[in-house]
Every structure is written in structure tokens, then in C-alpha cells.
Symmetry: C2
Subunit: 172 residues, 2 copies
């Protein structure tokens, strides 16, 4: 098996026999998993980030999220990331399901949450030194409008989590 690894990512190339009976050489990314939260303020606005992503060389609109540390429970990871990336602590958490961002070539699973009863932290918490993040707050209608505008590339994990959050909040 050929492999290439960097940080928390590993690419593996291997011979596989699929359930349909075909054998072939396939590549797959092994990823430790991640968590994401839709943070909802008491007035109904969501907290969302404008974040630079080198892989696509632009700033995109994303809910706070982060890769799991080895053995870290997904909600605990998200409590940490919500403080580091957005500057909030939440005391009410709902499960929004499991997301597969790229099931064609990655085993990554993202645990989706809604985070409510938010409190801003008194002082910023140190996160990853290479993050480049602006924190925004948007009403649900404004977020819907931006996603419909065609001006924003659609981040799959963000739109999927927002779809599930709208279901939970019965926004229609």
C-alpha cells in the first residue's frame, strides 16, 4: 500500500475488491474526524466565520468547526473550538447528525451540533496560530439570502448543518 501523510491527513492507495465484485486500485484519505456547531444567539442570529482556506485560496463562510484530537469526544472538541474560533461558550447542545463531506474519497465524519445559550468569553482564547478568522453574526433570513445569492461558494458542512438546524428550529 502506498501512503503519504501530513499533520492529521493520510492518503492511502490500495487494491480493493468492492462488494459488487470488481477489483481495482483506489485512493482514500484517512481523517480523524471533526465537529461543527451552528451557534445560535438568544436573539435568533447565528455566529458564523469568514475564514481563509489555502486549499481553495479564498475566504469562505463557515460555521465554527475543528478536527478531533486523538480520543477527544466530538462535543468536547466543539466546546473547545467554539471558544477558540468564535469566542463563545454554550450551555445547550443538540445533536444534528453525522455528515460525510467527501464519501467518494475520504473517510472523514463530521459530528454536527447546534450550540445555544451562548455567552461571550470575557477574554479571547488562544487557538491555532495559523487561523485567519473574522467572526460575523447573521439572521437566519440573511444567511439564507447569502446562500441563495450565488456570490458565496457553498461550504458543504456549513449548508448541511444549517439545513438540519432549520429543521430543528422548524424554520420551514
Amino acid at each position: 500500500m502506498a501512503t503519504l501523510s501530513v499533520r492529521k491527513l493520510r492518503m492511502e492507495i490500495q487494491r480493493l475488491r468492492l462488494p459488487v465484485g470488481v477489483e481495482g486500485t483506489y485512493g482514500c484519505i484517512r481523517h480523524p474526524g471533526a465537529s461543527l456547531a451552528v451557534p445560535l444567539l438568544p436573539d435568533g442570529r447565528v455566529v458564523i466565520l469568514r475564514q481563509y482556506r489555502f486549499a481553495v485560496q479564498r475566504r469562505i463562510l463557515e460555521f465554527p468547526a475543528g478536527t478531533l484530537e486523538p480520543g477527544e469526544p466530538p462535543q468536547a472538541a466543539m466546546e473547545r473550538e467554539l471558544q477558540e474560533e468564535a469566542g463563545y461558550r454554550a450551555s445547550r447542545w443538540d445533536d444534528l447528525g453525522l455528515l460525510l463531506p467527501c464519501p467518494g474519497y475520504s473517510d472523514e465524519v463530521i459530528h454536527l451540533f447546534m450550540a445555544r445559550e451562548l455567552e461571550p468569553l470575557p477574554a479571547p482564547v488562544q487557538g491555532d496560530h495559523d487561523e485567519d478568522i473574522e467572526v460575523l453574526t447573521l439572521s437566519p433570513a440573511e444567511l439564507d439570502r447569502r446562500l441563495a445569492s450565488g456570490e458565496e461558494p457553498l461550504d458543504g458542512k456549513t449548508v448541511t448543518a444549517w439545513f438540519r438546524a432549520r429543521q430543528l428550529l422548524q424554520l420551514g
Copy 2:
């Protein structure tokens, strides 16, 4: 730069200087891009696939989609995939935007479409020999219910495209 390639995927590891000023070693998947369609039948049901994905070792619920061939326009690629994977031809196409499935570590862009005025093909078209696909039709309410149930892992491209399709169809 270290690289590893298989089929249409290449992983690259390189030193980068980010706009925020930090320099580091980062890994990224280079992908040729893809197309996806939400196929809508005249009676309002959607056509959706139950497809085996070796990377996550399970069958997931996905709209028809496929990787672009070199130089292939996204809508033409999708017209081909809709025939191969689902057995339909569509004569009305709407653009639903550009999706980034994994902007943290992949440059893949998926072109989202809605496909309407569907006609079943008189005979099946030969697709990839290793695809393992069942074609389903679901009402919008049934698809919403399945995505809310917690029984289905959520395919990011599928839920994002469905969110945009619901906006276009003004389903609420």
C-alpha cells in the same frame, strides 16, 4: 513537493506562506471537479441513488454526480452522469451554485444543478463498471424526513444541493 496520485486524485504536500503571514507544511488534495444534479420528476418526486462508497464502507443516499473529464463542461458531464447513473434525460437545467465539499484539505469544486423535464431512457446506458447503485424516487417530504431521522449519514453535497433546490422551488 511530495505527491501521491491515483486515478483523478493527487495529494500534494508543500511549504506555504499563508496570507496571515504564517509559514508551514500543508497537505492538499487536487481534484478535477465534479457535477451534481437534483433530478425532479413531473409529479414533484426527486430521483436519488443508494450507492456503495468504499471510503466509508457503506451505502449512502446521494443525488447523481460525477467527476469531470478533462475539459468537459460541468452541465454536459452531468447530462452524461444522469443517463448513466439514474437512467434519465433532462431538458430543463437550472444552476444551483458552486459547492466546496472539503475546503480544509481539497480544492474540489462541485457544480450543482437542478434537472427537470425528465424522460426515462428507453434502454440503460453503460456507466462505470465498478458502480453499485440503486435508483430511488422520494417525495420532498420523505427526503426531508430521512435527512432528519438520524438513520442516514448526511452526504454533504446531497444535502447542500437539496437545500438550494428547496430554495429554488420555494418549499419553505
